[in-house]
Amino acid sequence: MTTPAAYQVSHLDALEAESIFVMREVVAEMERPVMLFSGGKDSIVMLRLAQKAFAPANVPFPVMHVDTGHNFPEVLEYRDQRVAELGLQLVVASVPEALASGMVRESGDGMRNRIQTPVLLDAVEKHRFDALFGGARRDEEKARAKERVFSFRDEFGQWDPKNQRPELWSLYNGRHHPGESIRVFPLSNWTELDVWHYIARERIPLPSIYYAHEREVIERDGMFYAVNEFFRPRAGEERFKAQVRYRTVGDASCTAAVRSDADTVEKVIEEVAATRITERGATRGDDRVSEAAMEDRKREGYF
């Protein structure tokens, strides 16, 4: 990718170098880092970068999955396979267990987006993690566009968007008191298209649901939801079969698919380059709650 003659690197190489730098800073300076790993494409790319950052040594931290209990089976399978392959320690912060123990209660709409925050924070406290890598990108959403690479959280896991630490050059300040933590976003400057170019270039395998396949769906608010045990059609919603793929993978009860014939990485790149709708806009019921849905969730400690 690089052209040494001109001492220039491509933008993907520059992004990769920046992400690797960020990860090494965290491991060098923080005591107990952990990487959020959901089996989604961004966390998969992040994990690949972690492998690269510390090679030939192993990835020097555990991964954590905040399991809402609403999973796509293909994604769980992928998660377990990856974890085994890389010999990683997997921490599962389980929403179903938290529901059973009474730590959280199901919300009225059945969405588990909000209740996963206390479950995440509980696991952070229990394991005394002081740095959490997340795969969020600034191009995803307008509140994320505002967040630092090293994002300070107080002892309640809260983000204060009006009072962020200045972050100059590549000098990241991870200092914190006991109980506080830092969320770290190594993919901050990547776009959806960059992620896909990287997946193609590095030949990174993904869960099959990222590629076009036939599925039984219903249409709601212009989005296509798969019919499964977590998602029940309402009266009057008609089930039909369609060629779809997932642009994002989140909670299976509120993540929608898009119509697509893109069954290879090259076709997905073409599709993403041509699309006129953001990935969250196209696929996330949870962001449609209000203008500032993401900001409000982030303040409370969400990723």
Partner: protein, 442 residues
């Protein structure tokens, strides 16, 4: 929807520059906006995204809906970057927003920064990594204190390229005279600063004149559109390829039965070119060795240069740890505990005072420092030096002398933005309270 985007001057002539598949490796340009409140920074970014077709329909629909609900006469493109609740409520930018777009020539990372003096530290955050800064001025108002402050900060941070955008030309009848007066005034001010490259463009961010395509409203302007300049400005030689500086970030030592006796020094090349066989010196110890290999996870590479993240292996076993620096024996930074630096103070709760003790972070090194002296505080408007000052308050800039607990491996900031800059951290609150640019190290 009752509101509309104000039509671009030459709508049909708009370049189609959507981000296509990576046909060839693109390079990356990071730029930041600067200038006073309401001079049109966020609108300009919105316009740039809109006219390069980098906006998504749902983003646009959301902004149109908010604009319509507020009774705006036209869609307020500034809402595209003002993403926080408080920003929308107050109609101002509080913190940096990062936005991304690409044309077939380049990928761009934009930092849209706030204009209020109160949020200067966020502007500094956005400008510190920029290759280029756009300084906006409202054509009706001309240069104001914040325009000068931000131009000064850009020069202090050594942003290599400045573009003055004389904005809102639609409100001054596209007047060449107004434009030239502001351009002249700014050029005269910039001459007193250290500005390596200055370009001036008359624009209307709201209407899109000279943003992506050249405007028919200002035939007297013969220069390129803003995007044309952004796509072509030469940044490759901004990097320092002469002084080898490799701050060691992390020592890779696999605890493994398959990979044994491996010891590699991981880091990002700050400047210079490293090659296997090169004679190198390690600071602060001063030991010398040769580069045995430069590696990445994908295998060895023939050379490494900025901004590559690599792992360097040396021919000899020497004691090296995080915070050390690899350079060449005949071209080394200072190993210094007495540091003279320009400091921009960013803490509203307590000023910088002589005698104050702080933590600092410089490259991959952490140290403590005591403020030994404050030579002067700078008046940014007049560039006058106030030598009677005894403290620096929020957003004030001055020349400071510090003594550090351990030596810094330091260059002048003007020579090296990585080994020449450090941040000052309050040890009690852990907040980043100052940005420092080294003038002299001994």
């Amino acid at each position: 929807m009752s509101t509309e985007i104000v039509a671009s001057a030459n709508a049909e002539a708009r370049a189609v520059t959507g981000a296509g598949p990576e046909a060839r490796p693109m390079d990356l340009l990071r730029f930041a906006t600067a200038g006073s409140v309401d001079d049109g920074k966020s609108t300009l970014i919105g316009r740039l995204l809109y006219d390069t077709k980098s906006l998504f329909t749902d983003q646009l629909a959301a902004v149109e809906a908010v604009s319509a609900a507020r009774g705006d006469e036209y869609t307020n493109l500034a809402l595209l970057t003002d993403g926080l609740r408080a920003e929308r409520e107050q109609g101002i930018t509080i913190d940096v927003a990062y936005r991304y777009f690409a044309t077939p020539r380049r990928k761009f990372i934009i930092a849209d920064t706030p204009g209020h003096i109160q949020y200067t530290r966020n502007m500094v955050t956005g400008a510190s990594t920029a290759d280029l800064a756009l300084i906006l001025v409202d054509a009706r108002k001309g240069l104001v204190e914040q325009s000068r402050r931000h131009a000064f900060l850009c020069s202090l941070l050594r942003v290599p390229h400045l573009v003055l955008c004389v904005n809102k030309m639609d409100l001054v009848d596209w007047s060449q005279e107004v434009y030239e007066r502001i351009a002249d005034e700014f050029t005269a001010f910039a001459a007193k600063l250290d500005v390596p490259d200055l370009t001036v463009v008359p624009v209307s961010a709201l209407r899109g004149d000279n943003i992506v395509t050249r405007s028919d409203n200002m035939p007297w302007y013969e220069g390129p559109s803003l995007l044309h300049h952004l796509e072509r400005v030469h940044i490759a030689s901004d990097r320092n390829l002469v002084d080898v500086r490799f701050p060691v970030q992390y020592v890779i030592r696999p605890q493994s039965t398959t990979v044994t006796d491996y010891r590699g020094y991981a880091g990002q090349v700050a400047s210079g070119v490293l090659k296997p066989g090169d004679e190198v010196m390690v600071l602060p110890s001063g030991f010398t060795s040769r580069i045995a290999a430069v590696e990445t996870a994908d295998g060895p590479v023939p050379e490494a240069f900025p901004p590559m993240s690599v792992t360097v292996r040396l021919a000899d076993e020497i004691d090296i740890s995080r915070g050390d620096l690899i350079c060449r024996p005949n071209n080394a930074p200072a190993v210094a505990q007495d540091i003279e630096a320009m400091v921009c103070w960013m803490d509203e709760t307590a000023p910088l005072r002589v005698g104050g003790r702080y933590a600092i972070k410089h490259t991959t090194r952490s140290a403590r420092a005591i403020v030994r002296g404050l030579h002067y505080r700078l008046d940014i408007n007049s560039l006058h030096r106030d030598e009677s000052a005894d403290e620096l308050r929020l957003n004030e800039i001055g020349r400071v002398r510090l003594r550090t607990t351990v030596p810094l491996l330091a260059d002048e900031y003007r020579r090296n933005r990585t080994t020449g800059g450090f941040v000052i951290i309050d040890e009690a609150t852990n907040r980043t309270v100052g940005a420092a640019m080294i003038v002299e190290a001994s």
